[in-house]
Symmetry: C2
Subunit: 589 residues, 2 copies
């Protein structure tokens, strides 16, 4: 089992030189200076490496279980969660009014990269808590905020998100869970499935955020409201006191993230679970959507994180494992000396570099969308909305390939569970599914993001790429800029084709959505790779070997990863009729 | 859990109309007529569907274990193996002199597609037995053949292949297991790992084929000999009598194929395991290589089989699961009505069609290589050698994508083990690894197959494709033929680039190997897809709906799968320097 090393230098470089965190400085009361950022990430790295990573494999093996109606999590998780909470990590970017530290959320993103890489199953508990915190912060009354936020930001209470029901997965309009008024509170009844960390013993209370329907609510998504349903109802002093009518029914037996209990939750088997309305009646979906960018970018981050973890393990094995002879045939070679193994490792590394750049660029843009004002804010909101499905969809698709390549580098040992690398591939397999499947992300990109503003936000992004690439064409990175430009020109045509297809038929047009999402991922990845190289070449903090490492990564990306965009462009430009013509009957041979 | 349906019509169509089994007629004493073939495959289908498929999920859950030094396989496997043996399936293409039925091996391939799809873990036991049977048939003395083959062909005794050791995986030159003469026999000592079905209770004896080194043997692969080491040494009547000095040490805990015991085997802990030399001393590797085409094509077949199984399950789920509204927004839709789901299903289906065509084309060519004579035989040997790494490498890569897409179509349910589809993805993950990793396949293609005859065999294949495509360009499939031709022209240039790179430096050149293998897979797949469509349009047995289904598959393949070749062509044409420049130090950032 290899150790995980938090890649602090790559993260700092991405933040400063690619995502350009200085963009936020005008909007921050206390800007995050370099020393502070390094200190925070240094501590986060230690926690990830020393506390959270060591229980990853054991958690996978042990999983979690239900005993007497309570979920018992894997050994060591409670202690790790305590260390995590006491370190103040949950409240990092929380509202200082409720005990948060008020840092921009990119800092939390950088911290979470380490936590997620160290232990994806563990990381979901604080991540879902953060989602619940955000929902409450943005939409709940001051009274509810005062009651719940301080404990949640301190990590004393955890949070969950309860959306999915057996008949309502991608289609939230089908939610059937019921809420009825009962004096000042509501009574919630219904079953929820796929509830991540729906129960556990790591915190004194669990605050469930639950989507449910009030009586006479409109059909569809416009009739769904959001409720706080605590596991323990608070007493007059705000302390968890009475067990609420919510029960875990079972935990799922999954392909991966075994240590993360995925729960079937039953609300209101007896008198109805006590719930408190968050925001306005029938506006629950809107509340969910305001959290969507963070949550989806969070899953993209998981794709980066687990890819980095798997890559580190593959690299370590490739340096150590001897098979075959070196090129001079004078000695046995470590497999990293074989060109095909170098190809696999650089396929991982160069994509991880691009993914990381995109993660932090999108995170800083997301901060801009909250912190800036006026046109800057509007622009940042539109750009964030555009990045989000690419971050979630494209990065988690890449994570499938990268974690699979990490298995492959190990040969037969990769297939043996004790090696530990198969776990990363199994864990990563959930990422294209949850928080909106990648099909949903692709449709979001081509529909809600491209089609609905007639391509304005996308054209603005493509124009920014073009302008930056044009600057580089007379610089030391001109050779790579030319390669990006060649694909960019075709991507503009593909964008027009997608717009036309969506205008013609917004349902059929979504047949091109996946190819378009992947195309944009590869293109944006290439753009940011060249930006990273340009910055690296002009960065005095990097030595020649580090600069050279960047050049290899970017050259490989441009020659061996970016060309995949050609296939997607071809699909879009020449293949829309083929997709339009499909229907369920053609599978009946 | 969906049921598996043996796709007999697609298989018969592939065999007759794409692989053209009539090519073998001149060389067969008793040709296999249509009625006989249909009858055989009909029975095989029943066995796969009714006996072997039902124990697939239970076998995955239960796995196998070691008790008192013996492997206990999952429940129901012994009975299934008995049914399989008694049906005469193992001896289907075996030598009639020893009780086989002497059918061409493509019949066995078609049977095995069903067995492997039904239960990959189970199928490995007869598959490895067949490998052992082949080694003995081709290389052992008449005495050994008489002793072992009849019982093995009858399925009363199973067989295994013992190659890998802890330090000798891809690199067989590192084999250290020792053999020393002891009167008429040899004594074998050493440890073997990753031995598939190395022990079990399903047969009366297990015949291990073991690679080991004699004293004073030359170093490397030229000093390795092949031995028969039976679990039970035979008495004078040829009956299993005395326990040999071979023990299973443990079974591995793997990502997939749980029911297939992957054993650590210890030979000669006491007095040395009794072994019998197969073929000449120091020629064990040569014996292994003569089996390589069959074994590697067999793993490619597994890639097709498990893809078909996963696809069937995804298709069934997509027809049944309702989410969202139909295009007219008048009713809830089965997810198969959504364009992005149709895209996923056709990505699976069109590739499976291409993969199946390639499997049976290569299988018939393999039969030709054994049955034909003179120049025909030579040509078939070269063509088979060329197909083999593409069959193994490309098809098993596609199987990763297809089984993963099958999970994706299921959404959250796909990640839950009880759904059964995750098992296919986990099981499939071994395919790019064993029987020569796909990196080794790619290097075999660009080195041993392309470079070593200066491209002659490959040029011959490309010329055949070009000639057939030219014929189609004036037919009803001309639009698709044009698309294949466009890629073919570029593939010829990429082939020249690879040849030049290999001539310049046969080690560095292998950095292009993987892209070249994938390119050839997509191209050959497209060629055979168009051949299939051309045949389907002229096939009176197919109705209009079946013909239309073929057209959708081929159109989708040409527009959405074949374009991936463009990326690989670009990698090869413009990216060789980028790969050449890689070395282990560039990963040290």
């Amino acid at each position: 089992m290899s150790e995980y090393l938090y890649p602090i230098n790559d993260i700092l470089f991405s933040l400063r030189s690619v995502a350009k965190t200085e963009r936020l400085t005008p909007y921050l009361e206390d800007s995050v200076d370099n020393d502070l950022l390094e200190a925070i990430l240094g501590e986060a790295g230690k926690l990830a490496e020393q506390v959270i990573a060591p229980i990853n494999a054991s958690g996978d093996k042990e999983g979690s279980r239900v005993e007497n109606g309570e979920v018992i999590e894997a050994k060591g998780f409670k202690e790790a969660f305590k260390a995590y909470s006491e370190g103040g990590w949950i409240g990092l970017s929380g509202d200082p009014e409720y005990g948060g530290q008020g840092l921009p959320s990119y800092v939390a993103t950088a911290v979470n990269e380490g936590v997620q890489a160290a232990n994806l199953a563990f990381s979901l508990c604080p991540l879902l808590s953060l989602g619940a915190i955000e929902a409450i912060s943005l939409h709940a009354s001051a009274e509810l905020k005062n009651l719940y936020l301080p404990k949640m930001l301190a990590g004393e209470w955890a949070g969950t998100m309860n959306l999915t029901e057996p008949a309502a997965g991608s289609d939230l309009a089908a939610i059937a869970c019921k809420a009825t008024a009962d004096g000042d509170v509501f009574r919630i009844k219904g079953q929820k499935i796929f509830i991540t960390w729906g129960d556990h013993q790591m915190s004194d209370n669990i605050i469930h955020l639950v989507l449910a329907r009030l009586p006479n609510a409109p059909d569809g998504v416009k009739g769904i409201s959001l409720f706080i349903v605590p596991k323990f109802i608070l007493d007059d002093l705000g302390k968890p006191a009475h067990r609420n009518d919510v029960q875990v029914v079972s935990v799922e037996h999954k392909m991966g993230i075994h240590a993360s209990p995925t729960c079937v939750m039953s609300f209101g088997d007896k008198e109805g679970a006590v719930g408190y309305l968050v925001g306005q009646e029938n506006e629950g979906i809107k509340a969910m959507f305001t959290m969507m960018n963070n949550a989806r970018q969070g899953v993209g981050l998981q794709g980066l994180a687990i890819s980095e973890r798997a890559y580190q393990q593959a690299l370590a094995y490739a340096k150590e494992r001897k098979q075959g002879m070196n090129a001079e045939r004078t000695a046995r070679a470590a497999i990293i000396e074989h060109p095909d193994v170098l190809r696999m490792l650089m396929t991982m590394k160069s994509q991880i570099d691009a993914m990381r750049s995109l993660i932090y660029v999108a995170a800083v843009e997301n901060d801009m969308s909250h912190l800036a004002s006026g046109d800057d804010k509007k622009h940042a909101i539109a750009r964030t909305a555009l990045y989000t499905p690419i971050v979630k969809g494209w990065i988690t698709e890449q994570a499938q390939e990268i974690t699979s390549l990490a298995v492959q580098v190990h040969g037969g040992m990769g297939f043996i569970e004790e090696t530990g690398v198969a776990q990363h591939a199994r864990d990563a397999r959930i990422l294209p599914i949850y928080e909106g499947t990648n099909g949903i992300q692709a449709i979001d990109l081509i529909g809600r993001k491209l089609h609905s503003d007639k391509g304005a936000a996308m054209m603005s992004l493509l124009a920014d790429i073009e302008a930056e690439v044009a600057e580089w064409q007379t610089s030391s990175v001109s050779a790579y800029a030319d390669k990006v430009k060649a694909v960019l020109d075709q991507a503009k045509m593909a964008t027009e084709t997608c717009l036309t297809a969506m205008q013609k038929n917004p349902v059929l047009g979504t047949g091109l959505a996946y190819s378009y999402m992947m195309l944009m991922g590869y293109l944006v990845g290439a753009w940011l790779q060249v930006r990273a190289l340009h910055a690296a070449q002009n960065d005095e903090k990097l030595d020649e070997s580090q600069k050279s490492s960047w050049e290899h990564s970017v050259a490989f990306y441009c020659d061996h990863v970016l060309p995949r965009a050609l296939g997607h462009i071809h699909s879009i430009m020449f293949g829309s009729t083929t997709v339009d013509n499909l229907n369920k009957n053609v599978f009946n041979r």
